[in-house]
C-alpha cells in the first residue's frame, strides 16, 4: 500500500474498535504535531502511555532536587522540562525565586565545563530518562572520572521500558496494540518486546518519529490486531538485538532496581541505579519513593496507565494548564496532557 492508501485505510477503518498506546513521549509529541488523531477512524483510539521521563518521576525526586538546589554552593543542572514539574509542594522554577540554583542545559555533557569553571560549587545533574538517555549519563561519568572531577554528581530517576508495559497489561489497560518506542528499541533491540507480545497476544510495532512512519506503523498495528507479533518499522535505526556497545556502557555504571513511577507506585526491576562502586557519584537517589500529589484531584496516574484520557480529568484545561501544571503530564511537551492541551 502507498501512503495515500494507508491514509484512506486508517480513516475508513470500520473493524472492531482498537485501543492503541504509544509508549514514548516523542511519539505523543509527533502524533500531535502531525495532526494524526484527526486522520484516524473513530474506531482507532490512541492513548499516551508512561513514556515521558519527567511525567513518571515521583514527587519525592522533585522534592530532593529542590532541597539540593536550595543547599549553599550547590547547583542543580537539568533538562528544561524538569524545572517546572511540581513536587509535593513546589517546583524547581518556583524555588528559583527564593534562592534555589537550577540551570537548564540541552546536553548533560555541559555540566563538565560548568564544574571545571566553578570548582567550589557542587553540580548535580537531574538524571532522568529511559534506555535512550542512560548511555549519555554513562558517558558523562566516563568523562567525570577521567577528569577527576569531584564536584559532579547525579540524582537519578532512571527507568527501563518493557517492565512497565507488562504492569499496564496485567492491570487491565486493555490495549489492542502498542506503538513501540523507536529510540528505546534502538538501544534495547526490538526483540525485547517479544515476550510481551506473545504473552498478551498483542502486536508491538516499532516506529520512527516522522508522521509518515507513524501512519505506516499504525496501519501495521491495525492489520496485526490480535496477533502476538513484533514488527520493526524503523529498520534504519533499530535492529532486533539493539546496540551492544551502549548496553555494555550502561551495565558498567548502572544496575537494575525497583522504581517508583508517578501515580503507579513501585514496579520491581523497572529502574536503574548507580552500582555500589560508583555510589560516590550519587546525590541521594535511593529511597526517593514518596509520591504525593500536589493536587489530589490530578488524574495523571490514570492517564499514564491508559485508563483515562486527558480531557476526562476534572482539572484539565481548567486549573491545570501548561503554565499552571498540577501534574507532570501537563509540563513536558511530550506529556499526554500538554499534548492534548496544545491540540484542543
Amino acid at each position: 500500500m502507498n501512503l495515500e492508501e494507508i491514509k484512506q485505510f486508517l480513516k475508513e477503518y470500520d473493524g472492531p474498535k482498537m485501543r492503541i498506546m504509544e509508549v514514548c513521549g516523542s511519539h505523543t509529541a509527533a502524533i500531535s504535531k502531525n495532526g494524526i488523531r484527526g486522520m484516524l477512524s473513530p474506531n482507532i483510539k490512541l492513548l499516551s502511555g508512561p513514556g515521558c521521563p519527567v511525567c513518571v518521576t515521583p514527587t519525592a525526586y522533585v522534592d530532593r532536587l529542590v532541597e539540593l538546589a536550595m543547599t549553599p554552593d550547590t547547583c542543580v543542572v537539568t533538562f528544561g522540562d524538569m524545572l517546572r514539574v511540581p513536587g509535593s509542594k513546589t517546583s524547581l522554577s518556583e524555588s528559583a525565586g527564593v534562592g534555589a540554583k537550577a540551570v537548564m542545559v540541552y546536553s548533560p555533557m555541559d555540566i563538565i565545563a560548568m564544574a571545571e569553571k566553578e570548582p567550589q560549587t557542587n553540580f548535580i545533574f537531574a538524571a532522568v530518562g529511559f534506555e535512550t538517555t542512560t548511555p549519555v549519563y554513562a558517558l558523562l561519568l566516563d568523562e567525570v572520572i577521567e577528569k577527576d572531577l569531584t564536584n559532579v554528581k547525579l540524582l537519578t530517576a532512571l527507568k527501563t521500558m518493557p517492565g512497565v508495559i507488562d504492569e499496564l497489561c496485567r492491570n487491565g489497560a486493555e490495549m489492542d496494540g502498542f506503538l513501540a518506542p523507536g529510540h528505546v528499541a534502538a538501544v534495547t533491540g526490538s526483540d525485547i518486546f517479544k515476550p510481551l507480545a506473545e504473552n498478551y497476544q498483542i502486536p508491538f510495532v516499532v516506529s520512527g518519529f516522522e508522521g509518515t512512519e507513524i501512519l505506516y506503523a499504525l496501519y501495521e498495528l491495525v492489520k496485526e490486531r490480535g496477533n502476538g507479533v513484533v514488527k520493526n518499522c524503523y529498520p534504519k535505526v533499530v535492529t532486533a538485538e539493539g546496540n551492544e556497545k551502549a548496553k555494555k556502557l550502561v551495565t558498567q555504571y548502572f544496575m537494575p532496581a525497583d522504581a517508583t513511577w508517578r501515580g503507579m507506585g513501585s514496579i520491581p526491576g523497572t529502574g536503574l541505579v548507580l552500582r555500589p562502586e560508583y555510589r560516590n557519584y550519587d546525590a541521594g537517589s535511593l529511597l526517593l519513593n514518596e509520591d504525593n500529589k500536589k493536587n489530589k484531584a490530578c488524574c495523571c496516574d490514570k492517564i499514564l496507565m491508559g485508563k483515562m484520557s486527558p480531557a476526562e480529568c476534572p482539572l484539565f484545561a481548567k486549573v491545570c494548564k501548561p503554565l499552571t501544571p498540577q501534574g507532570a503530564c501537563m509540563v513536558s511537551t511530550e506529556g499526554s496532557c500538554h499534548s492534548a492541551f496544545a491540540s484542543m
Binding site: 509529541a29 502531525n34 495532526g35 484527526g38 486522520m39 508522521g211 501512519l215 503554565l323 492541551f341 484542543m344
Partner: protein, 330 residues
C-alpha cells in the same frame, strides 16, 4: 579612555562625558544630538506612532548581528507594522561594570549603521552603569509618522485574506541558541529593518489589512493573536512554510518547533486574496523580502482558531507559545 567600563562612567561627571564623546557622539553625531540639551526638540506630524522596547539579548554579539543592530531593528520594525515611517529614536544604555569598551564601540557602531539603513535619527540618549558581569542592556524608543491614508490594524483581518511571510522563519532564535550552546554552524540571525518591504507594499497600492513582525513567540503566536483579535480562522500550510534546511535540522535535533521560534527581520502581511500576487511581487523586490511566500488563508467559521495543515495532511491546532521558550533572545 579606559579599556573597561567602571562605575565612574555612570557618575554623570567627567568620566561620563569622556565616554559620551569617545564612544557615542562619534557614531551618533547629528544636529539634534549635538545640541546636548536635556531633551530633543524635533519637527512633528499629524498621526504619530510611538513604541518602546528593551533589549537584553545574551550573548550581546552573535552570528549575523549584535544587540546594537537588534535594538534599532526591533523598535523600527514595531513602528513599521502600523504603516509608520520611522523618524526618531532614543536610546538608554544600562552598562554593567567590566564591559569592554571595544565591545561597546562595536555595538554603538552597529546602532549607527543600522539607524542610517533604517532612515531614523538617534535624537536622545542616556547611560547608566550598574554592577554585573560586563554585559549591557539597551532600551530604545521610536517615533514614526503615519501617512493619513494608512490604517493598519489587527482588527482589519477578514475572511478571504491571505497570509504572507517575508522569508525564512526561526533564524534569529536558532542563531542565538547555537551561540549559547557553542555550536558552530552556518545559521545567522536575520535581524534587519523592514522599511523597504513595507514601503514597497504601499507603493504597489496593496491594501494591507495588517502586519506584524514575527518576534518572540514565533509565527504561531503572532498569527494566533491576530486570529483572536480579528475573530477569524487562520489556516496555514506546513508545506509552504519557509524554513532553511539548517534551521529545520537544528530544530529537529533539539526538539524545537520553527513555528514557535523568534525572528528579528521577518514580517507577516495579511492582504486581500486578489492582491496576493501584487503583494508578493512588491515584497520580493524589496531588500530582506526576497523570500516572501504565501503560507495561509483567512476564513471565519471558527473565530480565534489557528490551524496548520500538516505535511502528511493532518490538521493541527496551534496555540500561543506556552512557557518561557528561550529567554533573552532579544
Amino acid at each position: 579612555m579606559e579599556e573597561r567600563i567602571s562605575m565612574v562612567h555612570g557618575s554623570g561627571g567627567a568620566a561620563t562625558s569622556e565616554l559620551i564623546s569617545a564612544v557615542f557622539a562619534k557614531e551618533f553625531a547629528n544636529d539634534t544630538l549635538n545640541q546636548m540639551e536635556d531633551s530633543a526638540v524635533v519637527v512633528g506630524s499629524g498621526k504619530i506612532a510611538v513604541t518602546t522596547d528593551s533589549f537584553v539579548v545574551t550573548p550581546m554579539c552573535y552570528p549575523g548581528g549584535n544587540i546594537g543592530r537588534l535594538c534599532i531593528c526591533g523598535t523600527v520594525n514595531d513602528l513599521l507594522m502600523r504603516g509608520a515611517k520611522p523618524k526618531y529614536i532614543t536610546c538608554g544604555f544600562i552598562l554593567q561594570e567590566g564591559m569592554e569598551v571595544s565591545v561597546l564601540q562595536e555595538i554603538v557602531h552597529a546602532m549607527a549603521e543600522t539607524a542610517k539603513e533604517a532612515g531614523v535619527t538617534i535624537v536622545a540618549g542616556d547611560t547608566k552603569v550598574v554592577t554585573g558581569a560586563g554585559e549591557c542592556y539597551i532600551n530604545t524608543t521610536g517615533v514614526g509618522f503615519v501617512p493619513e491614508e494608512r490604517d493598519v490594524s489587527a482588527v482589519k483581518v477578514q475572511e478571504g485574506d491571505v497570509v504572507i511571510v517575508s522569508g525564512n522563519v526561526g533564524d534569529h532564535h536558532a542563531a542565538i541558541l547555537s551561540s549559547r550552546m557553542g555550536i558552530t554552524n552556518h545559521i545567522e540571525s536575520d535581524n534587519a529593518p523592514l522599511g523597504e518591504i513595507v514601503e514597497a507594499l504601499f507603493t504597489a497600492g496593496v491594501e494591507v489589512h495588517t502586519m506584524r513582525d514575527v518576534t518572540r513567540g514565533g509565527l504561531a503566536t503572532v498569527l494566533k493573536e491576530l486570529a483572536q483579535a480579528s475573530g477569524t480562522t487562520i489556516t496555514l500550510e506546513e508545506k509552504a512554510l519557509p524554513v532553511t534546511p539548517q534551521v529545520r535540522d537544528f530544530c529537529g535535533l533539539l526538539g524545537l518547533d520553527p513555528l514557535y521560534m523568534g525572528n528579528e527581520g521577518k514580517l507577516v502581511a495579511i492582504v486581500p486574496a486578489e492582491q496576493k500576487e501584487r503583494a508578493l511581487e512588491a515584497m520580493r523586490s524589496a531588500k530582506y523580502g526576497e523570500g516572501a511566500v504565501a503560507i495561509g488563508t483567512v476564513t471565519k467559521e471558527e473565530p480565534g482558531k489557528l490551524y496548520l495543515v500538516t505535511g502528511i495532511g493532518g490538521l493541527r491546532n496551534l496555540e500561543v507559545l506556552q512557557g518561557e521558550g528561550l529567554p533573552r533572545i532579544c
